[in-house]
Symmetry: C2
Subunit: 342 residues, 2 copies
DNA sequence: GTTAGCACTCGGACGCTTTGAGTGCTAACT
DNA sequence: AGTTAGCACTCAAAGCGTCCGAGTGCTAAC
């Protein structure tokens, strides 16, 4: 689709103005903003053509124009000048996230910062990937027949669980447990540690199998847990402020609350920053919303996602660099804290 | 305040009807519901007196009556017949919460269940108390100069943190760390493990002090973290469905999102189940809401809180027993999983 | 290709009326 | 004394017509 320079300028201005105000733009007010000096009638003609191409829409006959989804798309792909974050904001973000905490904290904070920064809802997922391994397993007795199992992954994710058995937990049993787990499980990829693998492992233990099985089963569950990405959501309340989301606010909130569709949405994220405008994502509840998704990498094949969910009239020019900056930062922090120079 | 039997009956019926429908009740419709056979005029007289006593309110002259805060209070204190949970719901709750997981999971689940059960927002806090002790400390190297510190409390709360030093982490250092922590810290109350205590402890180590300090400082931070109750919130979106909360929905959500006022609210919870109607809590944002709070105990002096936040027209007769049931269940589960017969 | 001019459209605001649920009061009834 | 029927009154909500103005599309002139 080729647009004359003037049409481009008009489209860009409408998009930017609408993003700022949320009000449809008429030919007259547009005339005052545009740098070129043309009459409103000329602008009307151009706008009519843009509307015919499907780039603009009219809420009703006597209202101004509003960008259509295609209009946003064209703007983002061809017209947008991204505005890099100023140093001040960068520093603010960096200090808000801090540095010395574990991945889960970093991601929670990143979500908070993103929500505040954008005035939208923000999602973050814990890193996951095929090559994630078990870094450590601990078993802490908390009663004569009860123990807390703790599993730490190579991505720095910690999972825990209480486990109960019929036979008392003795020191020899603990030793046996550590022997088995250290030699057979630690260092293995999470995906290798499923329930059936645990059963064959337990079977090979002979006499101890009976007392050991609950704990090995517990480890299997932890491994499964840890290989699933956790989704953290923040700033839902920000969405209540947008008029255009008002009518299906409840649906939207319910959608976000429910982890499954959200994770389906997120798992569609590809490299770099990705923008899904309105119906470009396939969820009815998000038909009036836009989503910005970006991956962060944690070395190896492991990666997670940060995302922003808001109305279609997002300030893409600002948000895309912001999200990119945050994913880079998070990726760097997590890579550093996990891999170091090991 | 003494009320005639008939007035009591009328008040109770208005409260219950209003809780069900959310619509003001007029004398005529009330006449049809009431078991006694009196004319609407008589009811009007009684209602006028109840209104004069401050137990009923009129949204406007030509509307029916609505219970005032005092009316709810009287109803709860004198008229309400609580409806115990049926076995079916009990089983549903029990299976939803499961059993074999750690405190944080249990509480998260309890929050979810409570939100679903009540159609309101639910809060849950992790247990805390003066006597909470350190049960275990682990230090897992994740790089040549980086380690993950893990702290487990006697209440089963796990906290972790990445720590970095300037000197490489060696096997002797690790041994020293475990010696010090096992002998000096494990078993101590969390409140004893503050930063200054750590500094004096480090000082006593002589040569190792320098390399050890960052880790001891990390432990101090973890102890501080662990002694603060974490608040988990669920089901905010449920609140959007209530007309009476609509106008300050945004404020309400922001209030809930912000941990501090929420924890102030929760910390006011006393023994058994406590109901705060409308302005009985001191937060402007909750003036149109009611809060039900209940403590669960985990043996010793440790306890946490479960709560429900919704409109003033909560179904108290059902919710109070529900919340009580859940706190009992959570208390039992956490006590069992933590203390066992140790 | 641009512009001035003009008739036209349509949502939103305003004001008016109607409707009906609900009230308070009075006077009669038990 | 308590209860009831009856009635005038109130007031929010809904419906309706009008006006206003922002904005449009079209035409004819530049």
């Amino acid at each position: 689709m080729e647009l004359s320079e003037r049409k481009q300028k008009i489209l860009a201005t409408i998009v930017e103005q609408y993003i700022r105000t949320g009000e449809p733009i008429g030919s007259k007010s547009l005339m005052e903003i545009l740098p070129m000096k043309v009459s409103s009638a000329t602008i009307r003609n151009e706008m009519a053509e843009l509307a015919a191409m499907g780039l603009l829409e009219q809420p009703h006959t006597s209202a101004g124009r509003v960008p259509s989804h295609a209009g946003y798309r064209y703007y983002i792909d061809h017209l947008m000048h991204t505005r890099e974050l100023d140093d001040d904001s960068r520093r603010k973000i960096e200090s808000a996230i801090g540095s010395g905490s574990d991945p889960e904290h970093v991601l929670t904070r990143a979500g908070e910062v993103l929500a505040d920064l954008t005035g939208c809802a923000a999602v973050s997922t814990t890193p996951a990937g095929e090559s994630t391994r078990i870094r450590r397993i601990e078993m802490v007795p908390v009663g004569s027949r009860t123990a807390m199992l703790v599993l730490l992954t190579s991505t720095g994710i910690l999972k825990s669980r209480i486990c109960r058995t019929d036979t008392p937990i003795t020191v020899p049993l603990l030793e046996r447990f550590y022997n088995v787990t250290r030699s057979q499980l630690v260092g293995k990829p999470l995906s290798d540690v499923h329930t059936t693998a645990m059963q064959t492992l337990a079977a090979s233990l002979g006499a101890d199998a009976f007392s050991m099985l609950p704990f090995l089963a517990g480890i299997a569950e932890l491994a499964r847990d840890a290989s699933q990405t956790d989704i953290h959501l923040d700033g839902q309340s920000n969405l209540l402020g947008y008029r255009e989301l008002e009518d299906n606010a409840y649906e939207l909130m319910e959608f976000l609350r429910n982890g499954e569709p959200l994770s389906a949405l997120i798992s569609s994220s590809r490299g770099d920053v990705q923008v899904l405008i309105g119906k470009e994502n396939k969820f009815r509840q998000l038909a009036n919303s836009s989503v910005i998704l970006a991956r962060y990498d944690v070395g190896g094949d492991e990666s997670g996602t940060l995302g922003v969910i808001g109305p279609t009239r997002l300030d893409y020019a600002k948000l895309i660099p912001s999200v990119r900056f945050l994913t880079d930062l998070v990726g760097r922090l997590l890579t550093r804290s996990i891999d170091d120079e090991e």
